[in-house]
């Protein structure tokens, strides 16, 4: 039955990954502004100057 222990470790580490992903996303403010990213993606940016592209 020692396979259960391996499964246990595997499942908790996957869950832990999700927890870390969640904490990271909160910390970097991804839930702060729900308007800009969704509109930003629709902007036509083919004529961007080099400078703005670099800063992205």
């Amino acid at each position: 039955m020692s396979v259960i222990i391996i499964l246990l470790i595997a499942s908790i580490s996957v869950a832990l990954l999700f927890l870390i992903a969640f904490l990271w996303s909160v910390k970097t403010g991804q839930f702060e502004d729900d308007f800009s990213p969704s509109s930003r993606i629709l902007f036509d940016d083919k004529i961007h100057s080099d400078k703005t592209i670099k800063s992205r």
Partner: protein, 797 residues
């Protein structure tokens, strides 16, 4: 207004801002503009290939008809001031965050994020739309902070820089509750999963495996106990220090007892413990807390005068203008107040004609005239040309700021009934624990420990807290949907206890932007009307604008020649060879009794008549006041003269108190006198003149025309058009209490079931694991259903 006839030409709309083009002839390519400002912005955007701005939304611009003074941002060249504003600076780059209140659509976002195309020294600009902020990074060798601010102003997004920005501490967003909730959720889910073998029974042969599960649970519960549950320890410790037992105290106690008992069980090998129940309740309670402590990023309830005041002002020193930080202004400094600037300190007018708009202070939108030598008070906005004032009081000592700083709201608001209930609850739990301890002492001393701890575990008042925080959270959510924002959940209870409602008149019952205009005198012909409209449209004065709007005409092909605007007096000019003058009584050489504000018209030196301005009540005011009279005592309090008394008496009913000529401190004192009579007062106001009264009242509600507008410090903010439903909002807040009580009863049923097992010392982790989440879940569902049902019954959104 009869007989406007055929002259009505519907004007083309401005390609930039979408407003009607009253003055014609401002055309670029094939597009019409309402003013030169809009045309200029269009040209800047067009030349830089940013025309997507106009494709994303129709006419997204901001009207440029009110010009910003050219050297308004000169103070940004002063390094001492600039240093206080920028967030980061190295040898090459400067980072600064501007607050741009005009931002409103995706076009704005597009333009602002492409700032680099307009000024190559800008490295990047990133917009936070919710907070209406743009973070600009630029190379300070190639440009300056002032130029960036001026660029933003030129394209219609004037940065709002106030005295408040001087307080270096930017509010740090506290995300710790979300982190704690995330950790608790993770541990709760996994602990529950790992507890299953324990509940389902593990074969005797697999003792080792069972121990591994138990220890894994123990490890998983550590972050919950030491990190996620922290807010409960902190809150209960704080309340204990103040010699008062709040609802968090018994919860912290229950969490600790559960943890210690479970720890002991696992170490001694006698059982699996209650780790899953413990993590579960912490998780649910944190979720409730988060729901109830919602924050409104775009609103602020703590604004003081510093958010209204400019950061710097021009001080005249030896004939030169010196931009000076506001706190550094001393008594006897001569301040130069430009047109459209706020007067930051009380002073004596020494030069120029003051025509001061005190709408910030009094809510009255019509400007007041002051002559040299008269006192002008801080908070007023100069609307006609430049003036100089000699300060007689420092900024912090001014009449208005003094009013703000009054923090003598001594009676700390009564504690919520939830804490009272929890006190009795705790008492009962202790009694039951003692009784069962005594019982088992006599019959079977070995069972004292399991029975007593089980009582504390099961009877923790977490269900009470859950019921309260989830109900509050739902009610707040419903109120927000209806654009009524409360500062915190506790205000719901204050609102529900209101017995007396005090309304401010100007700006609250009347709408500040709209005036009823009536014309008195020799009837005007359609041509004369068009001529007056043409003349008035040359001026930016609010009264002129109102007249244009009232006449509803465009200038057509009439040209105004020899236009003169005499600040504070009026405007004049030739239209089709007719010399027309519009202005205050003196300039039209006619005197009349003062009845509100009037503007006189004279054609060829012959007084024709006058336009009378009076405030207009919001459409719903009669029905609102009629509805509220049935349940509450009402007062209407106004800084105005008693001109409107009769009209108001009819609206507010016989019993209501109507007070006129009230200064800000009179309002405050009136609220105090009501409170002494035992009334629980709700004050509804809008301007800074109500600030003291809003703070003094049991619940102060600020009325806001736009929710991102500035409002004085208050307990709640309501959108002006939602004031109509005030009665329903108060009723909803009363229902809040009933829902909480119903949920209490439900939770007590669960507690009795649990206690039945607990006192016998037979509370197995399995029973606890079923009882706890199911009681929590059913409370969450009950509060959700009941509050939404109540909102639907009250016909709220």
């Amino acid at each position: 207004m009869p007989g406007t006839g055929k002259d009505i030409v519907s004007p083309p709309l401005c390609a930039h801002c979408g407003e009607a083009c009253i003055t014609q002839g401002i055309i670029l390519e094939d597009k019409f503009f309402c003013c030169e400002g809009c045309k200029m912005v269009y040209r800047i955007i067009n030349q830089n290939g940013l025309c997507s701005y106009y494709d994303l939304n129709a006419a997204p611009g901001i009207t440029q008809s009110v010009k910003v003074r050219e050297d308004k941002f000169a103070f940004l060249d002063n390094e001492k001031i600039a240093d206080r504003l920028i967030s980061f600076k190295d040898e090459k780059q400067t980072h600064i965050t501007f607050y741009l209140p005009q931002m409103h659509c995706s076009s704005c976002l597009y333009l602002l994020e492409n700032l680099a195309r307009l000024n190559p020294a800008v490295i990047s600009s990133t917009v936070n739309f919710t907070r209406k902020e743009a973070e600009v990074i630029f190379l300070h060798h190639n440009t300056s902070l002032r130029k960036i601010a001026e660029l933003l102003t030129a394209i219609g997004y004037e940065p709002y820089i106030s005295l408040n920005d001087l307080k270096q501490t930017r509010p740090v967003i506290d995300r710790s509750t979300i982190f704690q909730l995330g950790v608790a959720g993770f541990c709760f889910g996994n602990t529950m999963l790992l507890s299953f073998p324990e509940y389902l029974g593990v074969d005797a042969g697999e003792e080792g495996l069972r121990n591994i599960f138990r220890w894994a649970n123990l490890v998983l519960s550590l972050p919950v106990f030491f990190y996620s549950a922290l807010p409960f320890y902190q809150s209960s410790w704080k309340s204990l220090k103040h010699g008062f037992l709040n609802i968090d105290a018994p919860i912290a106690l229950a969490v600790m007892i559960t943890f210690v008992r479970s720890l002991w069980e696992v170490i001694s090998g006698s059982g699996g413990g209650y780790f899953d129940s413990m993590s579960g309740i912490v998780f649910f309670m944190l979720a409730g807390r988060l729901l109830q402590d919602r924050t409104y990023r775009q609103l602020s309830f703590e604004r003081d005068y510093s958010s209204y005041f400019p950061i710097a002002v021009s001080v005249m020193k030896e004939g030169k203008e010196m931009p000076t930080l506001l706190p550094e202004i001393k008594i006897n400094d001569t301040l130069l107040i430009h047109n459209e600037e706020l007067i930051p300190a009380d002073g004596i007018l020494t030069r120029g004609k003051a025509f001061i708009d005190y709408s910030f202070v009094t809510g009255e939108s019509l400007p007041v005239r002051k002559e040299v030598g008269e006192m002008v008070y801080a908070g007023g906005k100069q609307t006609a040309g430049n003036i100089e004032i000699l300060t007689v009081k420092a900024v912090a000592q001014s009449y208005l700021t003094q009013l703000w700083n009054r923090h003598d709201r001594a009676p700390e608001k009564a504690k919520s009934f939830v804490h009272q209930v929890s006190k009795y609850f705790t008492l009962v739990v202790f009694t039951i624990a003692t009784v069962s301890a005594v019982y088992w002492q006599i019959h079977d001393p070995a069972k004292i420990w399991p029975a007593v701890t089980a009582v504390f575990i099961i009877a923790c008042p977490c269900a009470l807290l859950l019921a309260n925080s989830f109900t509050n959270g739902h009610i707040l959510r419903i109120l927000v949907r209806n654009r009524f924002y409360l500062r915190k959940a506790g205000i719901i209870e204050d609102v529900s206890k209101v017995t007396h409602i005090v309304f401010d008149k100007t700006g609250t019952l009347t709408s500040p932007g709209e005036q009823t205009i009536s014309y008195d005198g020799t009837p005007l012909t359609a041509t004369q009307k068009a001529q007056i409209a043409a003349l008035a449209s040359c001026s930016n004065h609010p009264l002129s604008k109102a007249i244009v709007k009232h006449l509803g005409l465009t200038a057509g092909n009439l040209t105004v020649q020899g236009f003169v605007e005499k600040p504070g007096e009026g405007i004049e000019g030739f239209i089709n060879d007719a010399w027309i003058k519009i202005g205050s009584p003196a300039s039209s050489s006619s005197s009349s009794e003062k009845k509100g504000t009037s503007v006189y018209v004279s054609i060829e030196n012959k007084t024709m008549g006058c336009f009378r301005f009076s405030n207009r009540y919001r459409d719903f005011v009669p029905s609102l006041l009629k509805q509220l009279q049935k349940t509450y005592s009402l007062s209407v309090i106004s800084g105005d003269n008693a001109f409107e008394e009769e009209n108001l008496r009819r609206l507010a009913g016989k019993k209501s108190a109507l007070l006129f000529h009230q200064k800000p401190e009179d309002k405050l004192n009136y609220i105090q006198s009501l409170q002494k009579k035992g009334e629980r007062v709700m004050m509804i106001g809008d301007g800074l003149n109500d600030a003291g009264a809003l703070q003094q009242s049991d619940t102060g509600i600020a009325v806001s025309e736009q929710t991102n507008n500035f409002t004085p410090a208050s307990d709640g903010i309501i959108a002006a058009d939602q004031l109509e439903w005030l009665d329903r909002f108060i009723r909803l807040c009363r229902i809040n209490r009933k829902i909480v009580i119903a949920s209490f009863i439900l939770s007590i049923v669960y507690n009795i079931i649990g206690l039945y097992f607990a006192v016998q010392g037979t509370l197995s982790p399995l029973i606890a694991a079923i009882l706890m989440p199911s009681s929590s879940l059913s409370i969450v569902l009950l509060t959700f259903g009941a509050s939404n049902g109540a909102a639907a019954a009250l016909k709220l959104k």
